[in-house]
Symmetry: C5
Subunit: 296 residues, 5 copies
Amino acid sequence: MIVRDAPRALDLIFAIRGSILPRIALRLIALMGFAALLVWLDRRADLLPETGGLGFTVFGIALSLFLGFRNNAAYDRWWEARKLWGGLLADMRSLAREAEVFVRDDALRLSLLRTARGFLHLHRANLRGLGGDELAQRHGGTLTDAPHPPDAALDAMAALVKQGALGGMIDSFGQRTLAERLRSMALKQAGCERIATTPLPYVYSLLIYRTTWLFCLLLPLALVGPAGWLTPVFVGIVGYVFFGLAEVTEELSHPFGQTPNGLPLDAICRAAEISLAPHLDEEAPAPLEPKDYFLS
Amino acid sequence: MIVRDAPRALDLIFAIRGSILPRIALRLIALMGFAALLVWLDRRADLLPETGGLGFTVFGIALSLFLGFRNNAAYDRWWEARKLWGGLLADMRSLAREAEVFVRDDALRLSLLRTARGFLHLHRANLRGLGGDELAQRHGGTLTDAPHPPDAALDAMAALVKQGALGGMIDSFGQRTLAERLRSMALKQAGCERIATTPLPYVYSLLIYRTTWLFCLLLPLALVGPAGWLTPVFVGIVGYVFFGLAEVTEELSHPFGQTPNGLPLDAICRAAEISLAPHLDEEAPAPLEPKDYFLS
Amino acid sequence: MIVRDAPRALDLIFAIRGSILPRIALRLIALMGFAALLVWLDRRADLLPETGGLGFTVFGIALSLFLGFRNNAAYDRWWEARKLWGGLLADMRSLAREAEVFVRDDALRLSLLRTARGFLHLHRANLRGLGGDELAQRHGGTLTDAPHPPDAALDAMAALVKQGALGGMIDSFGQRTLAERLRSMALKQAGCERIATTPLPYVYSLLIYRTTWLFCLLLPLALVGPAGWLTPVFVGIVGYVFFGLAEVTEELSHPFGQTPNGLPLDAICRAAEISLAPHLDEEAPAPLEPKDYFLS
Amino acid sequence: MIVRDAPRALDLIFAIRGSILPRIALRLIALMGFAALLVWLDRRADLLPETGGLGFTVFGIALSLFLGFRNNAAYDRWWEARKLWGGLLADMRSLAREAEVFVRDDALRLSLLRTARGFLHLHRANLRGLGGDELAQRHGGTLTDAPHPPDAALDAMAALVKQGALGGMIDSFGQRTLAERLRSMALKQAGCERIATTPLPYVYSLLIYRTTWLFCLLLPLALVGPAGWLTPVFVGIVGYVFFGLAEVTEELSHPFGQTPNGLPLDAICRAAEISLAPHLDEEAPAPLEPKDYFLS
Amino acid sequence: MIVRDAPRALDLIFAIRGSILPRIALRLIALMGFAALLVWLDRRADLLPETGGLGFTVFGIALSLFLGFRNNAAYDRWWEARKLWGGLLADMRSLAREAEVFVRDDALRLSLLRTARGFLHLHRANLRGLGGDELAQRHGGTLTDAPHPPDAALDAMAALVKQGALGGMIDSFGQRTLAERLRSMALKQAGCERIATTPLPYVYSLLIYRTTWLFCLLLPLALVGPAGWLTPVFVGIVGYVFFGLAEVTEELSHPFGQTPNGLPLDAICRAAEISLAPHLDEEAPAPLEPKDYFLS
């Protein structure tokens, strides 16, 4: 995730980090070149048909609304993913507190919390498709090899609760409270999995990219008359807005990716470690800082 | 569900799988032919009245907003359905864990989990209207013949809990916890049923298809003057956007259908089986893979 | 509720059942006649001032947005009402299961479930303002005469739970579980009442109908110049879209009405009866089928 | 709240009750007079510059979207407030039922319910800023003088629960159930307070009123050319739509006010009294009826 | 937060407090000067190309929709933050009541409530990044030095609950109830942290500011022909709407800032103190009043 203040005057012109421009620059140049070619043809041979603007107004509005919908849907996915991870952070902290209250055995309590920390890293590695993530292996141990590692970590926590219940170290109220906590974590984990495995319908992507290309390629026909040599400029700007939004949307709709707009899962895991540290009698690590405005 | 990456340059031109184009191609060809006919008539006999663009701008915007609304509503249904199934997956996993903690009899526990697995397949078959689904019959057994099979499966689970309670294998806390789990599953099952049995109001479909046809058929009147022989092209594009969106919307609003945009219920059921396997002392099956980009 | 598949070619032209057209036909004919009169006057005496389209574009967009808002709000009411009834259905099923687990007396259990079934019918009759509904009277008995029948039914259920608690037939966990179930039903019942007694603000209706009329009556002023004798056609189409949407919106915002777009409360009550039947040792009735595409 | 059916033909022309027109009539007359003056000046001296419509189209769309946003936000506040009060009504009914089940002392139970009724009236008076509300004083008694009366009422209810717990009249399950009920009421009360004390950001009001005035005052510049003496009519209509919506929005965003669009808190309190009556062994009062279409 | 009534006639012209105008005045003057320069150049040398309005209509609509999206997202953040703090206020009150019911030791109870009050101030100081906040230090004591002060305060509360449980001053039901309360507070605290640490994606800011500047700088090209010397006025107004909205959006998306549109956290903390006072046997402080319309 890019962490920067609101852009200032100079950023507006020069900011590259966090900008979508580099990703779409090639397309824009191609579009503008094509538009320039059309203007040149028109000036030279008057070959182009002059189409009025009506079709473009309706087309442009429909496209804007459609891009707007997709943008909303992508942002909602991103923000829901962030909410789920914020909820997991709160769950980790609550688990630590509830374990203090309800688990009457320190070894068991520490074991539970360590497995929970392992769960978080395994969940992160699973969402990001990181095979041999170092932190996941360090905290997850043998669970890394399970068919579904985060699921196995929650299973291991349930087994610890059962062991505590059988050994009289957790009473019935504690069992119920901890079972609720596990359920809440499982719900959020499944929510993240849902977002990760269910992309926005592919048909939208196809429809949007196809119509955006059509719009930008045909636009010169309507502009060449009134705007002349400014046509490539306008086509470039319209392409910047539409392709820019489409690309942002693409990135935001995959919130667990390690892209500039992906969620800072590493930093959230670190925040959980900081909160768990006093309960594990460990020293709290420092919070993760952004590098070159980027928080991983 | 179609599982593909963001479309690349060549996909934009050639992708058929996952595209809505084949479904609306006939209509588009008819529309473009009709538009070409009008242009020819106009060129030949100047019979067509020239209507300004005003009516079309307002009409087009109203239609766009309306299609946008329907698209939102359909996508919300689709996404809510996906959330409900994600929640069911989480419920299955939590049930397995809670059974470990609260059920003090292995035979009963296995019986409960197997019935839960049966419930999931029966629910899937019920939503998709699959009479003799093989997996539902294998896991659901005699429950398949009940008037409402998934409901009967949940009844059977409640009966198992009662039996465990009477036999002293589940204490009061466990009864309450498992009763909550069943309630949560019943709520999600009823939510899916709600979406399956309550389509988007039919009046919207009628209003949308009628106005889309009217718009596309009348559009040449406004375009023939300024756009001439490009009229069929514009009509084709506008028809592609509007009919394409209407069709996508139609598909998404039936999220349990076995269409290219239907939810991958088979894959979710498989994921649940994978998670249940260690609790049932079975070997986990492999996750379902998409075939020709399609995950059923 | 109208239950039909997506409209096919012929439906688009001829479908009446489920269409909003009959409801607004008179208005549309009046509008088109008025527009034709204006064109005739204009052709004959050139009395009409020619107004450009600018005012209409802005006016039309504002009106579209406003209608869109109202449509959203109405659809949300309709869908929320459907969710509440879906939740009640799930509550009925969960109640039946929880009663199996927690009520250790069959007569009391049957009494509880029968009162619950009575509650559902009383609630339905109350929402629809049906004085002497036959099913409500059969299942509700004397509760029909209470000042607030569904409320009285829930009171009766609470009294049964209390009786079971005093008689030792329901333990403390069961009391809490059943009290939660009653609360959940009361919450949904109050939600339905909220929707039924709080219409969309009247001021919106007034604003929308007034501006729609103004727009449609003034529109010929802008169209008569460019569109000539096609003016009535355009006015008719614009009127169809705007009035059609306004009427649909009006119907959907009263989801409990017995209109073509009202919710199928009878069918949902029947579904609840089917699910309760095995718990009441009764034979399950057949599901309600739509008549002439209409499910009541 | 205005309670009327959908407006009929005559209402559209003559309805004043519930209309926003009287509130904005002065402004509209001023606007139309100003527009007429400009037309007269233009006809007489041709002093006005002719500005094309482009600026107005973009400006008008931006303003429409902005008004639409504010309308959405205001309606959401209104509807959320209605939901909170509907939830409080359900809470009162559930409290009465739970008290029947869990409180084993009638005097204490009656005391609890009466304080709850007092809470509702104190809450209403507090939200509406009514100093000496008669009903609040009758049912709230000395609690009226507390720094925060509804809060004090909930404190008094908690004290009653504690007293019952110490006296053995409420067991642990009952304490937990009633504590949850109090928490649920406190949450809704705080929700209402939030809406009452946190208006929509003032900056929106300023931005909206300023831009609406600017738009309406400048609009004649674009209309005077094409529309001539119809200019004041169009300006009046556009002003009606924009100012009307702004005013409705203003009213709806203060849902607890005693305006035509304020929520009918008196009627909801009465409904709660009707539901509590049988539990208090009192006779149920009659429901509140609208006076001149207005339900207070 | 600015607390003012709906703006009146004079406010519209003169209100500065709460207006966004001072923040964007420089930009608007620059824009208008630039536009005036272009008009002067055009009049003098006819150097400017005349571009039709088509590009601007589509561009303007796309920009409006995009600004509208960002405004929605920012307002949602602001309102969610307000909801979280309203929920924390309700939690504080419920905690005080639940402590009365479930904690059978007054010293422990007072200790718990005082730590809760400290938590609220530490949470506020943490969100606002206030190092040496006086109230946080007075009520938070040594917790101020913890790596994560509000987290440490909740840990301290959990330790008090554990101490009460071990000492027999809180029974199992009380432990569960208070643990739920702590979890609810932790969830809201993590929600606020989420909003504070996860700004709106930076790429949106960049895209919006860049396109807004482009639009305003190019707009004169389309206006100079039809609008002449009124061009700077229109450019100024369009700039006012777009930049104004962008700035408001920027402020609202940081709801915990001490800006004119930041949330009144001080006042909410004070409201919590007022509600806690009777439970702490202290005198309730006066509510915080706005100064110069500003509530901090």
